[in-house]
Amino acid sequence: METSFPAGLALGLLSGFRLTTGAGRTSVVPGAQRLIALLALQERPLSRACVADALWPSGRPDRAGANLRSCLWRVNRRCGPLIETSAQHLSLADDVAVDVRAVSRQAHRLLEDPDPCEDCLTAATLADLSLDVLPDWYDEWVLVEREQFHQLRLHALEAMSGRLVAVGRYGAAVDAGLAAVRAEPLRESSHRAVIRAHLAAGNDWEAARQYVRCCRALQRELGIEPSPALRRLVPFRDSTLVLLR
């Protein structure tokens, strides 16, 4: 995880759970990790009933409520003022830096900001956008949030590649595009980003190789060819491309 946080509480959810306090990394038991992660992935207070139902869906409501109270006690004892509580609601304390929130803000800037966003065109941002949220967790509430972030990072990586081409940083543009391809190998727009970066750098042959990789992936998994629009990007005849396939 490349994102740096100000001193204090920092929570990392990209690539895995990591809680860091002023004293360093803090170990947290799995049940407490889930409570903290659930609150971190929501940018609004959640009702106690909603949290209990999400974390203990198979149990009776009163039992889930007891589990939640016990879990809250453990978190507060172990981690200090991490969770803000009221009679009805729970939320993550405002001063906790959460990596997913920071990277999501960068992703939205890459997609929407009319300014050049040069501070987002870094290796650190690329590394962060190459990660998924809590990849080994399969709770339902994690799946939804992970998919949402996955889509956001795909779009942001393609936008990042386009912005890097615009400022002449072709190598980094290829890297950003390839990160998008790794995240979804069948997405033509990701292959297109890589091909455009190669073409902008004057590497037509590399562009052709990427096109062929796209052809292979689509043929292998779907039995189809890329779109004519993607084909038109590559400045070679079919007879030449056949040599690469």
Binding site: P57, S58, G59, Y138, D139, L143, L186, S189, S227
Partner: protein, 79 residues
Amino acid sequence: MERTRGHQEGVTVLRAWVERGDPTTGLRVRIIRVADGERSLTTVETTIDAVCAAVRVWLLELLADEAADTAGGGAAEQE
């Protein structure tokens, strides 16, 4: 997440997008199946019918596993 013994849990994630803004030929749906907290299989389809068929197969597999577990659990309890 608490689990009851012999109880199967399955989640199917449909990650869908449309290439080139063309819904006729550009639909892509990646089907990610999760069973008992582990990713088990991902496939890709290009039509709504194929997606529905894949989800139906998945549900039938889940039900078959559940039935097998129930039968096995019942036998174990009788011993």
